[in-house]
């Protein structure tokens, strides 16, 4: 490979890293804490902001998908206490539950939660029990509380109800206050309830639209769903198609038969998503929901519908934002320590390898930078174990160069010229570095197959770090040597 091509390759790598890391940089250093917090507002609160601001917030939300996230230990997150409603279970069983049965139910719920959160791509959550029968879920980053609710609660909140056309037709504007809430709820007849139809505004935020009165009998709920998938209709709009179980299908056929001519409200998380009119009896149990949602929403809905149903209905007893479990002070101290450590390494390399140390230091800096770029591009969640992986990467980044430099020294001692010594030094060292890194890579690759948890974060960082390390410490430094030896017409290598 000629030199120009090699330089180009390095520049491309740097370009990719700059591109990958820029969002993270903007997110953490250009936006203030207050600005960042804006992206966590609920739809209702967001509506109070002027249009320009809302557009900006939408952009920020997109940016957030391309940054290095910090884990629970580094930035805290949403903390939810879930309480199972045993009454329902008891009602179904027709007797008091034994402690064993309760424990079993809790274990099942936790398993389902873990699966579901994993499927939503939230990395490194914490799911623990508290007391006898409560479950604490912590999700890193105070991302949309709305979405957190969907992730955690999700299913069981899909309901089918029939629209009470008469009462809905009688609703008038002056029955509602400025915020759209009903003033006198007694106008709703018993057996009916008021719900709202929701749809997306241009900022992709669900907004409450008009009020609709429904008969409050739940005709069918999420537990009858067998399969759910996402599709697009002929206009390219996202829709969710689901298949009901045999029994659910029969029920659905019956519901549609009795209610021909009426509208059927499909309610997700207490929000009416769509209200198609029933034209005829629908047999077969295939239902599609077309609503005003994006592809991503449709995927979320399908996911929620697919993931197993909880054996017990859950309630959120408590939901709050918690700080990092390491504490801000520890994180600051940790960052300081990492910087001090890196500076010491840089100085040591300069002291020991003199001018050649500069080359190793450049490679080290590039290594860290490329690693951050790739992690950002993966929207990676960084936790303390992940940082441990980075520290080891720094250690190993230097190691490869130490191996090479020591080899070059040996070659020089045996009387070779500078460029011959550099060449054979690299050749001999390459095999050493390859074997050492491959063995470590095997270990980390196996570890990274771990479903979740701290081990995975560590292993992923280290695996990526090793690959980048091979590039910077061998390819880049060799190029730098070639450039340096040519430029300064080096007769005696400072190493």
């Amino acid at each position: 490979m000629n030199k120009a091509f090699r330089i180009l390759l390095v520049l491309i790598a740097i370009g990719i890293a700059v591109w990958g890391f820029s969002s993270t940089y903007i997110w953490y250093f250009r936006y203030s804490k207050e600005d960042r917090a804006l992206t966590n507002l609920t739809a209702e609160k967001l509506a109070q902001y002027p249009e320009e601001k809302r557009l900006q917030i939408k952009e920020m939300k997109t940016l957030r998908g391309r940054i290095i996230n910090l884990g629970l230990d580094l930035q805290g997150g949403i903390y939810m206490v879930l309480e199972p409603d045993y009454k329902e279970l008891q009602r179904r069983a027709g007797r008091e539950l034994t402690p064993d049965e309760i424990r079993d139910a809790i274990r099942q719920v936790m398993e389902i939660l873990r699966n579901r959160i994993d499927k939503f791509g939230v990395s490194e959550p914490s799911i623990t029990t508290q007391g006898e029968d409560r479950i604490v879920v912590e999700l890193p980053g105070s991302k949309d509380p709305d979405r957190a609710r969907t992730v955690v609660m999700g299913r069981g909140l899909l309901e089918f109800k029939i629209v009470d056309e008469v009462t809905t037709g009688n609703l008038r504007r002056d029955m509602f206050d400025d915020t759209g809430l009903i003033i006198d709820s007694s106008i709703i007849p018993s057996g009916s309830e008021l719900k709202y139809f929701w749809s997306k505004n241009k900022y992709d935020v669900l907004e409450r639209r008009r009020a609709v009165v429904l008969y409050d009998e739940v005709l069918l709920d999420g537990s009858t769903i067998k399969r759910a998938q996402v599709a697009t209709d002929q206009f390219g709009k996202a829709e969710v198609i689901f298949e009901l179980s045999a029994e659910g299908g029969k029920q659905f056929a019956q519901i549609t038969e009795v209610n021909v001519g009426k509208r059927l409200a499909i309610i997700l998380d207490d929000k009416i998503m769509t209200m198609p009119a029933i034209r005829e009896r629908i047999p077969g149990g295939q239902v599609r929901i077309t609503g005003d949602f994006t592809m991503k929403d449709a995927q979320d809905i399908a996911l929620v519908l697919r993931a197993g149903a909880f054996p017990v209905p859950l309630q959120i007893a408590e939901q709050r934002i918690v700080g990092p479990s390491l504490g801000e002070d520890s994180i600051e101290a940790g960052i300081k320590a990492a910087i001090v450590g890196s500076i010491l390494v840089v100085l040591f390399m300069l002291a020991y390898f003199k001018a050649s140390g500069i080359i190793a230091d450049i490679a080290l800096a590039l290594n860290i930078f490329l690693l951050l770029g790739v992690l950002a591009w993966l929207n990676f969640t960084l936790t303390l174990p992940g940082i441990a992986g980075m520290i080891l990467t720094v250690g190993m980044a230097v190691d490869a160069n130490v191996i090479i430099f020591e080899r070059i020294k040996e070659e020089l001692r045996s009387g070779k010229t500078v460029s011959a010594a550099v060449q054979s030094g690299y050749e001999k060292a390459f095999r050493t570095i390859l074997d050492a890194n491959m063995t470590t890579l095997i270990a980390t690759f196996v570890l990274s197959q771990f479903g979740s948890g701290p081990i995975k974060g560590f292993a992923v960082t280290l695996s990526i770090g090793i690959v980048i390390n091979m590039f910077t410490s061998i390819f880049v430094t060799r190029l730098l040597f070639a450039i340096g030896i040519d430029a300064f017409r080096v007769k005696k290598l400072s190493i």
């Binding site: 623990t128 934002i321 002070d329 450590g341 190691d399 130490v402 191996i403 020591e406 270990a443 081990i455």
Partner: protein, 301 residues
């Protein structure tokens, strides 16, 4: 630098004894204490929610917890009205009431009797489920087998076995030291152990690579033990420089990283020292002894 050839593998009898002694005492110590102390992530424990009426920092609250000897797990709740903290302690003993009482006393002593309100006390379950722990053994085993496969392919079977012995040696040494100083096993220590595994393997393979290279000549092969020793010497400056640079990072983590990083950094320091030591005095020594007992045949190159 190291022109004079130092005798290293020749001292293996002593170093075997030293390693074995540390590990035996360490394991005995762990056994006497009824196993490794498991932190809250593995064993569960207690949580208390505390309302601090005066403005305090999370560091001050954590210092009190550390002084009581019940760990350092403190988290702040973002609440606009009150300064709320969650303190968690591992289930070290069953007498939860006493633990809570001691922490409450500690807090009240530090911040004043009427300035501390215990809002809630509860039992928390482990974060790392026993299922995950069980699968981790399988994953570890798979990793070991694959490494063995690779090293057998690139070196020889015995080299792979020796490298894995060194790795297990390092992990056991670190666990022993953790038990000596009475630290808890938590996710930090777990991360440290994984880091050490990576470091140990890397270090051993670099030495073995030199051994492999030197063993190519028939003359050197005849003098197996000295050739291995020479290889260690030839890679010695690299071994030392790399441990120094890695230690520089880890020691600064220990000194400047705050009290919460200290356990993590401590485990890493012990592990890096053990990893450096074991590639010479354990892994290489095993290769030499293996050859003495069952000589390998010279590879035709």
């Amino acid at each position: 630098m190291f022109k004079k050839v130092l005798k290293i593998v020749q001292h293996r009898k002593i170093t075997y004894i030293v390693s074995a002694a540390i590990i035996v005492v360490g394991i005995a110590n762990i056994a006497l204490r009824g196993g490794l102390k498991m932190g809250i992530d593995f064993a569960g424990g207690n949580m208390m929610q505390v309302w601090m009426k005066d403005e305090v920092t999370i560091g001050e609250v954590r210092d009190v917890l550390i002084d009581t000897g019940y760990g350092n797990n403190v988290q702040k709740i973002a609440d606009p009205e009150k300064d709320l903290y969650i303190l968690k302690t591992a289930a070290l003993e069953r007498d939860n009431d006493r633990v809570i009482q001691e922490i409450t006393d500690g807090l009240e002593e530090e911040f004043g009797n009427d300035r501390v309100v215990i809002e809630k006390v509860d039992i928390v379950g482990p974060r790392i489920s026993s299922y995950l722990l069980r699968t981790s053994y399988i994953v570890g085993l798979v990793a070991i087998l694959l490494i063995l496969l690779y090293t057998t392919f690139r070196f020889k079977f015995r080299f792979g076995v020796a490298a894995i012995c060194a790795l297990i040696h390092d992990v056991l040494i670190v666990l022993s030291f953790i038990s000596f100083v009475g630290k808890e096993m938590d996710t930090f220590i777990l991360a440290a152990l994984l880091t050490i595994i990576g470091y140990s393997l890397n270090d051993t393979i670099v030495v073995f690579d030199r051994v492999r290279e030197n063993l190519r000549s028939a003359k050197a092969f005849e003098d197996y033990e000295n050739t291995v020793n020479l290889s260690i010497n030839q890679s010695l400056s690299r071994t030392l420089i790399t441990s120094i640079t890695t230690l520089l990072v880890v020691i600064s983590l220990y000194v400047f990283g705050g009290n919460i990083m200290r356990n993590f950094a401590f485990a890493l320091i012990v592990g890096i020292l053990a990893g450096t030591y074991s590639s010479m005095f354990v892994a290489s020594a095993i290769v030499v002894d293996w050859h003495r007992l069952k000589p390998e045949k010279i590879k035709k190159v």
